[in-house]
């Protein structure tokens, strides 16, 4: 397999630079949307939009973050084109990671309910 064939194979399996550019623009726009949402809610301006957004701003921020995460993993890390085994390895790790976060939150939420003044550092 020479360099030209290798390059052709790589180009077939990975997205093109046009796709990479579109993804970069979307990532930039989503980041701007995150900061804009934060700014609207915490500056209360415009007031109408801030009132609507305030109860759901944390969920909006987490959803935007998840979309950005998925875009980078699928297109920049090539999970969309690199086979299911790698997606499985990463997906399984992410599931375990999510389990760790949820377990920590549940355990410490219970601890603080039972002992409201508990200091976990002692």
């Amino acid at each position: 397999m020479d360099a030209a064939v290798h390059a052709e194979h790589a180009e077939h399996s990975h997205p093109t630079w046009q796709t990479y550019t579109k993804i970069a623009l979307v990532l930039f726009a989503l980041t701007a949307l995150e900061v804009w949402s934060y700014d609207i809610v915490h500056r209360h301006s415009p007031a109408g939009l801030a009132t609507v957004l305030e109860p759901v701003v944390n969920e909006v921020l987490l959803i935007l973050s998840a979309i950005k995460f998925a875009l980078v993993a699928m297109f920049y890390m090539h999970l969309k084109s690199d086979g299911k085994l790698l997606s499985g390895v990463f997906g399984f790790s992410l599931a375990l990671a999510a389990f760790i976060v949820v377990a920590l939150l549940i355990i410490f939420s219970y601890l603080y309910q039972v002992h409201p003044t508990a200091n976990p550092l002692k």
Binding site: A10, V72, Y76, L86, F90, A97, P120
Partner: protein, 208 residues
């Protein structure tokens, strides 16, 4: 003979994947769990400080009201740099796969430039916090904040060392298209530190 050497060089496994690629993904998977623990601890301690500094609210120091610690504008700039660096490194990889040395070296330099600025931003932020009275053991927020973002900064720095070493190899003309996987592994690690920051940025800086 050359075909045999080629097969040996690519380390294919029974899965059809290069074992180096499988290894880096397994490593990235273990790193996900490592950062999940740090993020989990940050969330557990969030809002449980008995004394300042506070990340998002005013706090008192020797009877004087102090501004919230976190500076969103500076970190947004750093976040944008890290996102763009991920874009630049895929363009460098695209160049490496096509044998376009100019594209490879140019975009790899741009990636390293963005990474260095991101680390510089973190060093400035840590130094600024320290001079405003927030040390590592000041309160729960400071300990969990410095641990989480400090470990991320360390990973970015290691990623930079890896990318610089690949740049040196490319500058010597020793990164032909058939060895583009050497850059792809460094790029995967670089994207990983980017996706970790994609989670840290809203969790630490934007969500109150």
């Amino acid at each position: 003979m050359s075909e045999h050497a080629h097969v040996d060089e690519h380390h294919y496994t029974s899965t059809g994947l290069d074992n180096r690629k499988l290894a880096i993904w397994t490593f990235i998977g273990s790193e996900c769990m490592f950062f999940a623990s740090l993020i989990g601890v940050y969330l557990v301690y969030k809002g449980r400080d008995l004394v300042g500094p506070k990340p998002h609210a005013e706090w008192m120091l020797k009877g004087v009201a102090q501004e919230p610690m976190l500076e969103i504008a500076l970190v947004t700039f750093g976040t944008a740099l890290l996102l763009f660096s991920s874009f630049f490194v895929v363009l460098a990889l695209n160049g490496a796969q096509k044998g376009n040395r100019k594209q490879l070296i140019g975009w790899l330099c741009a990636t390293i430039f963005c990474g260095v600025f991101f680390v510089g931003m973190q060093v400035y932020e840590f130094n600024h916090f320290y001079h405003r009275g927030m040390g590592y053991t000041t309160n729960l927020f400071s300990s969990s904040f410095f641990t989480l973002t400090g470990f991320h900064g360390t990973h970015v720095t290691l990623g930079l060392v890896w990318l610089i070493s690949v740049l040196v190899v490319a500058l010597r003309g020793k990164l032909p298209p058939e060895k583009a996987l050497n850059l792809e592994m460094a790029a995967l690690y670089w994207h990983f530190v980017d996706v970790v920051w994609i989670v840290i940025f809203p969790v630490v800086y934007l969500i109150r």
